[in-house]
Amino acid sequence: MSIIIQNVSKAFGDVDVLKDLSFEVKTGELIALLGPSGSGKTTLLRSIAGLEVIDSGNILFHGDDTKDKTVQERQVGFVFQHYALFKHMTVFENVAFGLRVRDKKSRPSESEIERKVHELLQLVQLDYLGKRYPSQLSGGQRQRIALARALAIEPQLLLLDEPFGALDAKVRKELRKWLRRLHDELHITSVFVTHDVEEALEVADRIVIMNEGRIEQIGTPEEVYHHCANAFVYQFIGNVNLFHGRVEDKVAHFGNVSVSLPETSEQETKDTVFYVRPHDLDIHHSAPDSTAFKAKIDHVHLAGPVVRVDLTSEWGDPVHVEITQDYYLSMTFQKGMDVFVSPKDGRLFMQDYSI
């Protein structure tokens, strides 16, 4: 089922949570709503489900407006961050709930319910837990049961609110891989909310990046990662070094470094910020070119797949650099050493953009 979000706005009291949002989810897509806390992503998800009422705009399912449809009528599978399983029911009864509350005409027979529930429990690989109560399960198991329960009503749309947010790091990684595989099997249009960039990049077909009730960028994980639309996205999507400077007569000045910008359209003098990822900086013993600047090594973190080096630039800003283990070993950098740092890549954003 396709979803169209048209100019949706919502406020809680004086606070505007959603500010004129519009985007589209295609049938069978797996979409991530990504953003920092307070960006409105959960409110948007709950509005799609009908758990919140929007102030203005339209949400269309399959081209039909949902304004007059209740939560019950929307037939949307919803998975909550804290599972929201029915504690007084067994796992089996939890999954069967959506079938049992149907009216007499459409309610399946008892044997049909049993068959269906076991099928779903097999799908989430927990058929052996049917007689247990939710309190006897681990967090990861509970969330898989919650998913099976949501799937029982055969939803056209599956909404997941930070589904792995309450789980520990290892289980979270396993479950998100599993969710991706499940989606490839079932092809249900799905929207999930997360504040975990890695999770969104790994699982989603497309990512909607939100900040303060607005959409900052929509795109595939590759697009979002390699072609950040603005400074917020660049900063949110990964670690970054900031160099504050000024652009004057098509030349940018950062500390003692000057870079000519022949293509810039800026005429007047403007403050600017240069964003560089830690792995796009190199460290040398001598200055390789005019873009290099002097820095002092404060700390070297050797644990991990890359070597992380903390430095202080000659004008006093902290700088973080990531280099490979091999490069580190060949260059023998040490704490307290004076070195040169040069950027390989980076993005310049004019300062009129506030973050």
């Binding site: 019950q72 919803f78 804290h82 504690k87 029911m89 709930f97 509350v101 109560y133 309190s135």
Partner: protein
Amino acid sequence: MRKKVRRKTILPGFGLTLGITVTYLGLVVLIPLSMLFIKTAGMGFQPFIEIVTSPRSVSAYWLSFYTAAISALINAVFGFLVAWVMVRYSFFGKKVLNALIDIPFALPTAVAGIALTAAYSGQGWIGHLLGKIGITAVFNPIGIIIALTFIGMPFVIRTIEPVLEDMEKEMEEAASSLGASRIQTWIRVILPTVLPAWITGTTLSFARSLGEYGSVVFISGNMPFKTEIAPLLIMTQLEQYNYEGATAIACIMLLASFSLLLLINSLQAWSKVRGRG
């Protein structure tokens, strides 16, 4: 010579505190209650049966039982409602209302009895209005029920409140997203979650009402066979220096209270097994 090895524990003082606990419970609860049985045992089996099954006693038990049961049921219904309102909504004057709920806990029961009698008697504000539609609310079982409802009110409210507070809103949202109507959510999700606490609260209120004396004596009129509750009968026996008769009836009351406590405890154990965490 054998050396005494003392095991070190992280929580010291077990021996001392347990000793004090047992002594304290013994002095305050256990010994006085066993005296009751010892005293009763001295009177012989035949007289005991005669007293506890005398028509006057039986009518007092029955009166105590059914007035306590009715008041507990009234509290069950309205106590649930009050707890629901207190937990679910915020409104002006909520704190005042919250303090009002605890008054029956704190007020001397005699004060409650006098206040209720004043309000519900023929000249009282409420009694006057009830009189117009032909209802007399004092010096009859209705009066007893009013007093017992007052006394037992906080029990249901205060037992249900924490359970309602703990109940996640998401559970109800999950139910409605799965297609359950408001009524289905109520019957299948909310009610089963609250039920153990609800029954416990109602039973507590019932147990409290069964033994209530102070507030009832003012409003009931204390007529034998009509409005004489069991605790009052004990008092009457004592006033007539019939100590054995008093203890015999007291024994029956004690057994009733004890079985109720047993019931409450097993209910609480049951609710703990069902879905926690």
